[in-house]
Amino acid sequence: MSLERSDVEKIAHLARLAVSDDELEAVTSDLSNILNLVEQMETADTEGVEPMAHPLHMTQRLREDEATEQDQRNLFQSLAPLTDEGLYLVPRVIE
């Protein structure tokens, strides 16, 4: 599997990762090599095999729908890059 630079640009956009033009060539080659490794999966016959989502085949546990967490907004927001009156601030999205 050989990716083009444009493929990598698209993947990087989907992943919301800035990849500079300088990095693009090396990243394209690295990702192509990794996908070549991954493609060895094609040698396996998986006809009729169930996909395995959990090592112990457990189903997700459910709990009662009740509030268990305390309000720790001030503590958590103290870690944020930019907040104001309990809100997380980002660049303007609505003109």
Partner: protein
């Protein structure tokens, strides 16, 4: 003092040979003496460690005798520690002071263990050499130009060099066992679900598992006793009783059936490493165990499958790092998309970005069946290989890694070669089984690890089997020159 096991130190504390404050001080002194050359620790918590040690001394004087009370340990910097920087080896979390403790950290605190600090690691636990840390590579105490393995390389080098008594690690594809092998220590990856993942920063959630890294199997048993158990805050935590791991350590090995996978020995394995493994196996037969050749026919598919499953889950887990709520934010973002892209592009290192992109690609529209679904099916085949094997044998043994510790910089330009160094450990995570690495005869002065793989929730058996070898041989007690 720093060459002693947990139980030896606990005895010394109880009979009053030394106090926990003295013990902690002696480890802190070693950390300040050696951390410059090894880079094992990202954060050292001198003040809080001495405070915990004082509290432990009071509890000991009051007659308490919990196994880890007053024992200085270190946590991999992937475990959240309230009020202490928790970086996960990343620039992204360089400014992150965790607001709560991981479940594992709470358990150790309750046990009275003293936390010396947080150990270095590959960024977000992605790597096999510890070269992917934002805080620089960790050095192997056996040879400073060599890697300690990864991703729990800081914990491994700290234990090997006597910069803590024991440490925690995490293992997604070999990240406890491979550095344990490279640094000549004992490492245990428990069954998936045995140890809570709450507060353990997620990489690949269906594979991640925390475990102990120690000088001996007996120490690993003491550590696992604290770590293991059900936690309702981890939705995949296993609600299974926790046995007394110390109690099983004396069991006789006669009649033990050891499966030796033909795919693990011979082939591409270094001949000297094979000889070390054979020597350990011969030791087991001398103790009454029986060797049975088995086959794990899908071994070669482990690495390719892992490099779909792990990146796919990582791309999803790491989407939370958005430069908005915590962690790194780029300067002067021009709009929201620029904020996301540059915060992530600047905050993550190259390996993390590669894996996020591989995962994003594998999960993107039109590729899901060919990659993720196919990988989940092969995962089933790999798991079935082990199920078949465990019908015939009690434990599986082979090498932990195909080589001894390689040089810093030797493989860092070639991700695929680096990935292949985890060939023997990865399948164990895909199947969710417990695995262990213990030191056997070194090759060229460098440690070699024997890997032990057990059936689900059979950590007690693995610990016993490992402990028996350590009773009969002294490979595990070797100390790197300069760190005696």
């Amino acid at each position: 003092m720093h060459n002693k096991t947990i139980s030896e130190l606990a005895l010394g504390l109880r009979v009053g040979d030394f106090t926990s404050v003295e013990l902690t001080r002696s480890y802190l002194d070693r950390v300040s003496k050696f951390n410059n050359e090894l880079n094992s620790y990202i954060t050292v918590c001198e003040e809080s460690a001495l405070q915990s040690a004082e509290i432990a001394d009071r509890r000991i004087r009051a007659g308490e005798a919990e196994p880890l009370l007053g024992i200085p340990i270190a946590h991999k910097d992937i475990f959240c520690t309230e009020g202490v920087k928790t970086s996960c080896g990343s620039k992204m979390l360089d400014n992150f002071i965790a607001p709560y403790d991981a479940h594992v950290v709470s358990l150790f605190n309750q046990s009275g263990a003293v936390m010396l600090g947080k150990t270095n690691m590959d960024e977000f636990a992605m790597g096999s050499s510890n070269e992917n840390s934002y805080y620089g590579p960790v050095h192997n105490p056996w040879k400073l130009e060599a890697v300690p393995g990864g991703s729990s390389g800081g914990s491994a080098s700290a234990v090997a060099a006597g910069l803590c008594v024991a440490a925690t690690g995490t293992d997604t594809g070999g990240s406890i066992r491979q550095p344990a092998a490279f640094c000549g220590i004992t490492g245990l990856k428990p069954t998936y679900g045995r140890v809570s993942r709450y507060g353990m920063i997620a990489f690949a959630s269906s594979l991640d598992q925390g475990g102990p890294m120690t000088r001996t199997a007996e120490d690993a048993a003491a550590m696992l006793q604290v770590m293991a158990g059900f936690d309702p805050r981890d939705s995949t935590s296993a609600d299974q009783p926790v046995p007394d791991y110390m109690a099983g350590l004396g069991n006789d090995l006669s009649g033990l059936r050891i499966g030796v996978p033909k795919e693990y020995l011979g082939g591409g394995l270094d001949a000297d490493i094979e000889a070390s493994i054979q020597l350990a196996l011969a030791e087991y037969t001398r103790m009454g165990a029986e060797l049975v050749e088995i086959s794990l026919p899908n071994t070669q598919l482990g690495v390719p499958t892992y490099y779909v499953v792990a990146p796919a889950e990582c791309s999803s887990n790491l989407s939370r790092f958005d430069g908005v709520r915590y962690g790194y934010r780029c300067s002067d973002p021009k709009d929201l998309e620029d904020l996301y892209k540059r915060s992530r592009g600047e905050g993550f290192g190259p390996e993390v970005k590669r894996r996020i992109m591989i995962g994003t690609y594998a999960l993107s529209a039109g590729y899901y069946d060919a990659y993720y679904l196919k990988a989940q099916k092969i995962r089933h085949l790999i798991s079935d290989d082990f199920r078949e094997a465990f019908k015939k044998v009690d434990v599986i043994m082979g090498p932990t890694a195909p080589s001894t510790a390689f040089g810093i910089g030797e493989k860092s330009d070639d991700p695929v070669t680096m990935y292949l160094s985890d060939i023997y450990t990865i399948a164990v995570n895909l199947a969710g089984l417990p695995g262990m690495s213990i030191p056997v005869k070194p090759v060229g002065g460098m440690p070699v690890g024997l890997q032990l793989i057990g059936n689900y929730f059979e950590e007690a058996k693995l610990l016993n089997v490992a402990h028996r070898l350590q009773q009969e041989t002294d490979w595990h007690s070797a100390t790197p020159a300069g760190f005696e």
